[in-house]
């Protein structure tokens, strides 16, 4: 599998690590309470289809990427710098 890093271009998957759902971008405020944080930390959709997720180009430019990937066939629908696209 290959991912197109907005900075480095298309690269082999070995340069990246996967973190998890892009829901992690939406960190609740510190006073949001345990229930909201529980949802943020633990609860995930499990779509058969487009999934928003975070990848780290750790063997490359060290950018965090917001990737939209089809979980059924690994088609990468979109890649952006997470920094420019927080939510």
């Amino acid at each position: 599998m290959r991912l197109t890093c907005p900075l480095c271009g298309v690269r082999d998957i070995r340069e990246f690590t996967y973190l998890g759902s892009a829901k992690l971008l939406e960190r609740p405020a510190g006073d949001a309470g345990a229930a909201v944080f529980h949802d943020y930390v633990h609860l995930r959709d499990n779509p058969a289809g487009a999934n928003r997720e975070l990848w780290y180009h750790g063997m490359g430019c060290c950018a965090w990427l917001h990737v939209v990937r089809d979980t059924r066939d690994h088609t990468v629908l979109d890649v952006r710098l997470a920094q420019e696209d927080p939510a």
Binding site: L7, R14, E15, M59, G60
Partner: protein, 186 residues
């Protein structure tokens, strides 16, 4: 006390390494500093670099040879060689984070017509001159190490964190021997 003596990275290794038409040699580039512009300060950084050092930060994925050699090294990160890091830090104060990286990297030049074939054993990126012409630079994996690869005119400049230099020389040497042996087959 007496002044400390300096050891370059790769001391004790068998360098330069010449196998067939390929050569691997340490590139001594001197002082090196990292530059990370603060938010919205990229043009300010370039303005100050131009007036003080006749330099500017290279484009993403590029390196640039001038009075000062600059190389893009990652997201919002550049390295500059040839200016003492303390001077650079003063010049860019408030506009960019500057750190001394002079000792943090082992820098090797791999030259010879088979340099690309040799590196194809070690790195997943496409080094064809059509897509990676002289001056192009990439952060990538090389010999399982987080490396920087830059296309020179007749070879490649490879940078890895200093502590990895033994592995780098070992793995490139092995690939050089393999390619040299395979040239003899046909």
């Amino acid at each position: 006390m007496a002044e400390l003596t300096s050891l370059p990275p790769g001391s004790g290794l068998d360098l330069p390494l010449q196998i067939g038409s390929a050569a691997l040699a340490q590139a001594g580039l001197g002082a090196c500093a990292s530059v990370m512009p603060f938010k919205g300060q990229l043009s300010e950084v370039n303005t100050r670099l131009k007036s003080r050092f006749s330099a500017r930060l290279a484009d993403v994925g590029r390196s640039q040879e001038a009075a000062v050699w600059t190389c893009w090294m990652g997201r919002n990160l550049w390295f500059l060689w040839g200016v003492p890091p303390t001077r650079l830090a003063e010049a860019l104060a408030g506009a960019a984070a500057v750190t001394d990286q002079s000792d943090a990297w082992a820098i090797m030049d791999l030259t010879g017509q088979d340099a690309g074939h040799i590196l194809a054993r070690l790195t997943p990126i496409d080094l064809d001159p059509g897509v990676f012409p002289p001056g192009a630079t990439a952060r990538t994996e090389l010999a399982h190490i987080m490396a920087s690869v830059t296309a020179l005119g007749q070879g490649y400049r490879i940078m890895v964190p200093r502590s990895y230099v033994g592995t780098l020389v070992h793995d490139i040497g092995q690939a050089m021997r393999s390619i040299d042996a395979q040239q003899a087959l046909s």
